[in-house]
Symmetry: C2
Subunit: 210 residues, 2 copies
C-alpha cells in the first residue's frame, strides 16, 4: 500500500486525518457494541469504509487501536497538564465530558462491562492504560507512589463507570454531569494529593508544584 516515495504522497490519500477519525469513530462503536474480545479490525474497517490494511497501517494492532479509541488515554496528557492544585478538577472534567458525550456507547464502558468475563484482554488493556497514565501524571506529580495513586484513580473511575453507565442505578447514576464533576474532583483530590490533616503523611507527593 505504501509507494516507493513514502511520506511524499499527496493525492493518493485525500484526507488522512478524516480517515483516521472515521476509523476511530468506527472503533468506538464496534468496541462498545461487541466488547474488546469480539471486535475485529475487519468489522471496524468496514464501518469506517476503509481497507483492513489502512487500519493496520494507522494503528498496527487491535490493542493499539483500542487504546487510541478509548477516552482518557489519548488526550490524558493534555488534561493532566497544569498546576497540581487544579489537577483533580481537570481530570474529573475531562472524564465527565468524554463519558457524557459518548452517550453510553464508549469503549471504556464496554471494557468495564466485559472485564470480568474476559480477564485476559482486560488485564492487557488496563496495563497499557495504566502505563500511559503514569507517564502523563509524572509530568505533574512526584513521588515513588505515583503508580499506586494512578492505579487508585483508575479503580475509582472503573467503579464510577460501573455504577453510572453499566448498572446505571443509584445516586451516582442519577447525578447531573455538573454534580458528578464536583464529587469526582473531591474524591480524585483525596487520591492524588491526599488530604492535609488527619494521621496521614500522604501529602508529600503533592509537593511538586511547578
Amino acid at each position: 500500500m505504501v509507494s516507493d516515495v513514502p511520506g511524499t504522497a499527496k493525492k493518493r490519500v485525500r484526507d488522512p486525518e478524516a480517515r483516521r477519525a472515521a476509523i476511530l469513530a468506527a472503533a468506538r462503536t464496534v468496541f462498545a457494541e461487541r466488547g474488546y474480545a469480539k471486535a475485529t479490525i475487519r468489522e471496524i474497517a468496514q464501518r469506517a469504509e476503509v481497507t483492513h490494511g489502512l487500519v493496520v497501517m494507522h494503528f498496527s494492532t487491535k490493542e493499539k487501536l483500542f487504546l487510541a479509541a478509548v477516552p482518557g488515554t489519548r488526550d490524558l496528557a493534555d488534561s493532566v497538564q497544569g498546576d497540581v492544585e487544579g489537577l483533580a478538577g481537570r481530570v474529573a472534567r475531562s472524564y465527565v465530558a468524554r463519558m457524557e458525550s459518548a452517550d453510553s456507547a464508549d469503549p471504556f464502558i464496554a471494557l468495564v462491562r466485559s472485564a470480568a468475563a474476559d480477564q485476559h484482554s482486560a488485564k492487557a488493556l488496563l496495563r497499557a492504560m495504566r502505563e500511559e497514565s503514569v507517564n502523563a501524571y509524572r509530568a505533574v506529580l512526584e513521588g515513588s507512589d505515583v503508580p499506586l495513586r494512578v492505579d487508585l484513580v483508575g479503580a475509582h473511575l472503573i467503579g464510577v463507570t460501573f455504577s453510572r453507565y453499566v448498572l446505571a442505578d443509584g445516586p451516582i447514576a442519577a447525578m447531573s454531569p455538573e454534580e458528578l464533576t464536583h464529587y469526582l474532583t473531591m474524591s480524585l483530590r483525596g487520591i492524588l494529593l491526599g488530604c492535609p490533616g488527619g494521621d496521614l503523611s500522604a501529602t508529600e507527593a503533592a509537593s511538586s508544584r511547578s
Copy 2:
C-alpha cells in the same frame, strides 16, 4: 419447625449461634463459588449441615442471607461508629481486614465479578447494601449529600475489589494490606469529608463532629 412455644425452646436447638455461624460460613463459600444467581439456599443448607427450613427461619430469603454473609454490611455500623476525623481510617481497616481474611473467597468479590453478567441481582443487592450503608453513615455524617458520598465510597470499593481480587493485577493487587489500608484511608477521606482547600465547598458535611 417452630414449636408451640417459640423463643423458649432450649434443648431442641443445641447451639443456635453456632448453627447461624455455620450457615453464614456456608453461604460465603457458596456465593463466592457460584455467584449470587446460581447459589441456592438448598446447597447452602447442605454445606452447613442444617435443614433448608432452618436457613429460611434464620434469614428468610436468599437476598437477606447474602446481605448477612457479605462483609461490610452486617458490621458496618460498628466500624462507622466514632468520631468523624477517624471515619475513613475505620472504614478502610474494616474493609481490608475482612477482604484479606476471606482469602479471595468472599461474596462481595463474587458480586463484583458477576455484576455485569447478572445486572438484575447486582442492582437489588447493591441497593440493599447502599440503604444499610447510608443508615450507618448517617450516625456520623450530616448533610443532604450523604447518599451520594456513600455511593461514591461503594463505587470506590467496587473498583478496588475489582483490581485487587477479581483481575488481581497491577499496583493495587501488589500492595500489602497495610499499604492498602493507608491509601484507602486517604481516598475515603476525600470522598467522605472532602479535602479542605481548593475551589470546593464540600467540607460542610464533615462538620457534624459529635
